[in-house]
């Protein structure tokens, strides 16, 4: 068991999603387990990632040969396969000890997509119907599996995900000859349609006859929505291309989350770039840009454009955006509207709301901002306040840049201009 667990947890770890959020189930009658809308982290590994779910592959045997994947069929690695009962038992025992929020089950493709999906569904079905398990379940939707199986998976799972992995179609086909965008988008769109379908009758009933719906619980279908993952840096896409794709996924497929996973060289393959370390800074900036789209109402083409296709490694994208728009600042936080306050560097969603709330009671000043959690270190260049030196808001963006960067980085920036950044080199390759 120990050996199997090592192989099949180790093989699942490159799927970065471990979130247990977005779902709010009550504990089933006679069973155990519920879900918390915020999600709960149970531990953190030395790479600083949250451990929330028991993340496993049912098997690491795979018929595909994707260049970037450690489980590709041509790799000579130890292979293992769990029995359904083993995964069910481990999930329940771990859950009872409060090690985990639930299960995240994925798999290599054995025999066929349907055969594999059927096995994943069997685990979820047994947890839900035999053991009345109410904890979090995240399943992979296997591209190419039948719509009926994916629909059944969606009735048991809190979340489904289909990974894009490579953020452009040509690169995906180059690195994973057995895959294409259509095979990824088809299950995604199917899940999206089912989510709409399952939600619709509930609202119709609610408006026509409230007495009926009080007892009839509408059937659930992936209440925590669907997510995907893209590997960053295994192929030459720009950040602008990646954000454009992510933005489309949020709007059209209504994804809950897009995960970005800095490429880690697992396999020796001439199709893959040679890198010494995963591009963690780039990954971090992409997450920040993603946050701006989801919580700060930024459009992807406000963050980057064709002329600026890469995120700035030195500053967070909100800061970069503000420095590119000196015509909008400094802002008077006592008059500005919420949408603009949200765009001030150093102001978060919570503090933006507190500023609006505080204005009903008097003038909001720098001393209040500090207690509201605003990072004045960044905000002070962009707001007018009697307690802040006026000269700060008259600085040119280049001056703010130089003030916020440590002296060593200012020098580096100058020499940096002589050679294009590594991502650009890749993009032209």
């Amino acid at each position: 068991m120990q050996n199997k667990l090592n192989i099949l947890a180790g093989a699942a770890k490159y799927d970065v999603s471990c979130s247990s959020s977005g779902s709010n189930n009550a504990t089933p009658q006679g069973g155990m387990g519920n879900t918390a809308a915020t999600g709960i982290c149970h531990s953190f590994t030395e790479d600083g990632r949250c451990v929330s779910l028991l993340k496993l592959l049912l098997t690491n045997v795979c018929i595909y040969d994707c260049a970037y994947c450690m489980n590709r069929r041509t790799n000579d690695i130890p292979r293992a396969t769990f029995k359904v009962s083993e995964v069910v038992n481990l999930t329940l025992e771990f859950y009872q000890r409060n090690f985990i929020e639930g299960l995240f089950l994925s798999s290599g493709i054995i025999k066929s997509p349907d055969y594999t999906m059927e096995a994943l569904v069997r685990v979820a079905r047994e947890l839900r119907t035999v053991h009345h398990f109410g904890g979090y379940i995240h399943l992979k939707a296997i591209p190419g599996a039948s719509p009926e199986l994916i629909e059944e998976a969606g009735r048991y799972a809190d979340r489904l995900s289909v990974n894009i992995e490579i953020p452009s179609e040509p690169a995906l086909q180059y690195l994973a000859p057995e895959k294409n965008f259509a095979s990824v988008f088809q299950p995604m769109n199917h899940i999206r349609e089912k989510m709409v379908e399952y939600k619709a009758p509930a609202t119709r009933l609610l408006s026509s006859s409230p007495s009926l719906t009080r007892h009839a619980k509408p059937p659930r279908f992936v209440p925590a929505g669907q997510t995907t993952q893209m590997i960053i840096g295994a192929s030459p896409e720009s950040d602008f291309q990646i954000l454009t794709l992510a933005s489309g996924l949020y709007q059209q497929q209504q994804l809950k989350r897009v995960y970005y996973s800095g490429y880690i060289p697992i396999n020796q393959d001439h199709r893959l770039p040679v890198v010494s370390a995963p591009p963690l800074k780039r990954e971090n900036r992409l997450y920040q840009a993603d946050w701006l789209m989801r919580f700060y109402h930024f459009r992807h083409d406000e963050i980057l454009d064709a002329a600026n296709p890469f995120l700035d490694p030195d500053f967070d994208p909100k800061m970069v955006w503000a420095m590119r728009h000196p015509e909008l600042f400094p802002l008077d936080i006592n008059n500005a509207d919420y949408e603009m306050i949200l765009r001030i560097p150093g102001v978060g969603v919570r503090s933006a709301k507190l500023i609006i709330q505080g204005r009903r009671f008097g003038r909001v000043r720098a001393e209040h901002l500090k207690r509201m959690g605003v990072a004045l270190k960044r905000a002070k260049y962009f707001i007018t306040d009697p307690d802040l030196p006026r000269a700060l808001q008259r600085l040119y963006p280049e001056q703010i840049r130089a003030t916020l960067l440590p002296p060593s980085r200012v020098l580096q920036q100058i020499s940096f201009l002589d050679t294009p950044p590594p991502q650009l080199l890749l993009a032209h390759a």
């Binding site: 068991m1 120990q2 667990l5 090592n6 947890a9 180790g10 699942a12 770890k13 490159y14 009550a26 504990t27 006679g30 069973g31 155990m32 387990g33 519920n34 918390a36 915020t38 709960i40 982290c41 149970h42 531990s43 953190f44 590994t45 030395e46 790479d47 600083g48 990632r49 949250c50 451990v51 929330s52 028991l54 993340k55 481990l90 025992e93 771990f94 009872q96 000890r97 409060n98 090690f99 929020e101 800095g262 880690i264 370390a277 995963p278 963690l280 507190l354 709330q357 505080g358 009903r360 009671f361 008097g362 909001v364 209040h368 207690r371 509201m372």
Partner: protein, 259 residues
Amino acid sequence: MPSDLSLLYDGTFEGFLTTVFQAAFLKITPHSIESSDRFTPNLLSNPLPISTDPEKAERVWSALVQRAGYSHASMVRGAFLSEIPGIEMQIWHFQRKLFADKSGTFCGNVLDEHVTTVLNTARKVQHEAHLHQGFVRFQVAPDGMSYAMIEPTYNIVELLASHFSARFPNMPWLIVDGKRLTGIHYDGNQVQQIQLSEKPTGLAQSTSANPGHTLSDNPYQDLWKSYYRAINIPERKNTKLMLRLMPRKYWKYLPERNA
């Protein structure tokens, strides 16, 4: 009227609320309000012990709920559980302003320093309680009872009651605060707060106290430890981030970190 009195209470929330009642009754602003076991007298101090009266405490609490609403009243309780030195007077000022306010909007005034102190302190306490929804590690005893030990910075154990009784309704469990020797016990029906006379030895803390000790619950702890090691990605090593998210002070009762 300002006074040089230090009002001493028994450390409980009821005791504190009784003290608020008595200060209002005496029409004084005390110099300080302190738990008697944490009070250190000096030449200038003028201590006055207040004995806890559940009835008076209840009157203050219901007035608080009525004026502030349940969610803000809970924040007052949350801030109190922080046990941060001086938090009692901060809450006292908060309540003084709350009861003097005629508009009924005082709690929303995020420009007021006492409102933000209570809110920010309550948030810190809530955050630690949220962390412990994840960090509690149960060990299952042969009789089916599950035990866990924690040593949180703030006095949050009672804030875990509803979470764990809702999640494990059919499983009796006990969570002990090893530092304060308090705990919550769920018998499969309801949760009760308990007091311990001494730190329990045995299953609940044997992982850290007696690392060599053989436990009946070891197999799943060992599997959990292997799992924890297997999902780490060494190429992404970021110990600083891990320490920020899971500070060392919580490792004592986490089997995956305490070995």
